[in-house]
């Protein structure tokens, strides 16, 4: 039986076994997946990222990891002692391993949230990303919805400590396919820092297909950091879909340092006036690592500001993809949208495909975009070397200098030091 058939069967069984409030979402998603299938490279959005190849092998599905051992702790982020920690093992939220410390932060199994106080929020927002990403891989995630989580930030609460979300795959018993799912609701005038990271345990092939939906209400503030430095046998489709439903502020930074095949979908849907959203990214790839960042900024209302800046350093035979869509709908007058993507190729075998895609239906807007692909600056290299810096150190100084304006966007100090350290280690500095 093919892997896809096995996965579908599993989803079907799951649906039959769990008659909870999420079942309609699952059923609709499974039907969509049935119809759409796994996106092939002929799908415009998946042109460079051959996701279908990840379905050519069997995976374990539905293994119980509720009694996970401490192995996941190797991936803890700095200052975890004071942070909120949410742990997903093979896509399933593990409450025993997780810690929720901050007052005003609510973490519930999604099916529970779907029937209690948050029922309306869940039914209104869950699955909204499917409208933007009409592809099978997004539908596939929603067709499972097991061990998914609802994260709520209460009104007018500033969550003091970051929320660390660990997406762990445990492959000690074989290849893993994991599908973590989260719905985040940041209520009016609340603030939160979300940090996601990924880690693989054991020697196997790991494939995570993750979806997070974040709803940001009036005057709320969200900082969102994604740090990807997983193993060479770990692939990831990570979709984060923001809806700014009130005038609000989002600041997102995506750092991709390793993984087999990594695809990030980051969407900002600005559904209210005066929204402000920032998207920064740094990908630093080597060997045969493949990192694809697809972003969407959708301006539905006037007076919004979006600022997008991604940088890439590509070594070895690695591949980088950047696709930045900016939609400006007819009503969205007087918006500002900036986009920039800069790349440095360190090797002849590395490739980068970068594409801005602007669709503007309003007339009074300011949009700008630009992309560059270049080599390390020879003039700069000689300048540094002429001052006694070895060629290797000079390269590392120049690359660090290239990356630093993205790193500086990580406002959480401990996390910035941590990422900076990872990069410095890679640079051999």
């Amino acid at each position: 039986m093919s892997t896809i058939t096995t996965i579908k069967d599993k989803a079907q069984q799951l649906g039959a076994a769990t008659q909870d409030a999420l079942q309609p979402v699952r059923a609709a998603a499974l039907a969509a997946f049935d119809q759409l299938g796994v996106p092939a490279v002929k799908h415009e959005e998946w042109k460079y990222t051959r996701i279908s190849q990840l379905f050519n092998q069997p995976y374990q599905l539905g293994v119980d990891h509720s009694n996970a051992d401490a192995a996941w702790q190797a991936f803890r982020l700095p200052e975890y002692e004071t942070a909120n920690e949410l742990v997903f093992i093979n896509g399933v939220y593990n409450a025993a391993a997780s810690t929720v410390r901050s007052a005003g932060l609510v973490v519930l199994p999604l099916e529970e949230a779907a029937k209690g106080e948050y029922a309306q929020i869940v039914s209104k927002h869950l699955g909204h990303s499917g409208k933007y990403l009409k592809d099978g891989i997004n539908a596939l995630n929603a067709s499972f919805l097991v061990g998914a989580v609802f994260i709520g930030v209460n009104r007018s609460t500033e969550i003091e400590h970051p929320v660390y979300i660990y997406n762990i795959t445990d492959g000690r018993a074989g290849n893993v396919f994991a599908q973590p799912r989260t719905l985040v609701h940041v209520a009016a005038n609340a603030g939160v820092v979300l940090v996601e990271t990924y880690g693989s345990i054991g020697v196997a092939d790991h494939f995570t297909n993750q979806v997070m939906e974040v709803v940001v209400e009036q005057d709320a503030r969200v900082e969102y950091y994604k740090v990807q430095n997983d193993s060479n046998r770990s692939s990831l489709v990570s979709t984060t879909h923001f809806r700014q439903v009130g005038k609000s502020y989002v600041h997102a930074v995506t750092i991709s340092l390793n993984g087999a095949m990594v695809r990030n979908n980051l969407n900002m849907v600005m559904e209210a006036e005066h929204c402000d959203s920032n998207m920064f990214g740094l990908y630093f790839t080597s060997d045969s690592c493949h990192v694809d960042n697809h972003t969407i900024v959708d301006n539905a209302k006037p007076h919004c500001l979006s600022n997008e800046y991604y940088k890439g350093i590509l070594d070895g035979s690695s591949t980088g993809v950047f696709n930045g869509k900016i939609f400006v709908q007819q009503d969205a007058q007087k918006i500002n949208a900036f986009q920039s993507n800069k790349n440095i190729l360190l090797s002849d075998n590395a490739n980068v495909y970068t594409k801005p895609q602007l669709e503007i239906f309003a007339d009074d807007v300011k949009c700008s975009h630009g992309c560059t692909v270049g080599r390390l600056d020879e003039e700069g290299l000689f300048y540094l070397r002429s001052r006694g810096v070895t060629e290797a150190s000079a390269k590392s100084l120049l690359l660090h200098a290239f990356a630093v304006d993205i790193l500086d966007q990580i406002r959480h100090d401990a996390l910035r030091f941590y990422v900076d350290q990872l990069i410095s280690e890679r640079l051999g500095a």
Binding site: G380, H400, A401
Partner: protein, 251 residues
């Protein structure tokens, strides 16, 4: 200290230096003057080890070593410093962080121990006051958005930090007003000593009012066609370079 013998060098098959001979001893200040296009910057680049240039003949000995065999960073380690005509802008790298790496790598090359943070700070403060540069400038991205004068002062600061034995100043005066020239020259003079030598490359005489040379050489069409004392610079200032063509024609 530096012995250049019959140096030939060029770029992309075009010969630019056509047999340079020059000897510099410790404590001396030499000036190389000459009209635009005569090969002054090429000489500076070849000495510092810029890879675009190809040496096709001759030799350069620096403190007993074959300079041309050394990588640019090794030349700096041996004590050569080139102040660039156009210092490179590097967004994201501050002069301080750059110098931390440079000073310690040069020290390593010279078999000295690395400076710790406190020692580095002390050295930096000392050199900052020596060349009269503001700390603000040093915490900013290297040369990015600096005025011409600030760039040159930053070059002189780096020179002071690295304590070279031979400093080559490539058109340090270009694009500077007289105040900026005076400040840059004061910095250079502050770090001169009996053990060190300086090679000033310039099109104009005015820098030499502030960095007074012991020897002046005129470079023309890839060769040193005339050498003399500091009065030669003044002479050139009066007569310009036009005499060269006549003299060359006679010779």
């Amino acid at each position: 200290m530096l012995q250049i013998k019959d140096l030939h060098a060029g770029i992309e098959g075009k010969e630019i230096l056509k047999g340079i001979n020059l000897t510099i001893r410790p404590g001396e200040v030499h000036a190389i003057m000459g009209p635009n296009g005569s090969g002054k910057s090429t000489l500076a680049s070849v000495l510092a080890g810029r890879e675009d240039y190809e040496v096709t003949g001759g030799s350069v000995e620096f403190l007993g070593k074959d300079l041309l065999e050394l990588a640019p960073e090794a030349r700096a380690g041996e004590g050569l410093f080139l102040a660039f005509q156009y210092p490179v802008e590097i967004p994201g790298l501050s002069t301080i962080n750059f110098m931390k790496t440079a000073v310690n790598e040069v020290r390593k090359y010279r078999g000295q121990e690395a400076l710790d943070a406190a020692e580095f700070l002390k050295l930096m403060k000392e050199k900052m006051s020596l060349v009269n540069i503001d700390k603000n400038l040093l915490t900013r991205s290297l040369n990015e958005g600096f005025s011409g004068g600030e760039k040159k002062r930053n070059e002189v600061f780096q020179m002071a930090m690295l304590e070279p034995k031979l400093a080559i100043l490539d058109e340090t005066d270009s694009g500077l007003d007289i105040d900026a020239i005076r400040i840059a020259a004061a910095g250079v003079n502050a770090i001169r000593s009996k053990e060190n030598a300086t090679l000033v490359i310039t099109h104009y005489q005015r820098l030499l009012d502030y960095i007074v040379p012991d020897f002046v050489h005129v470079l023309y069409n890839g060769r040193i066609v005339k050498s003399g004392g500091k009065e030669l610079a003044l002479e050139l200032e009066e007569t310009g370079y036009s005499f060269l063509k006549n003299e060359m024609n006679i010779a």
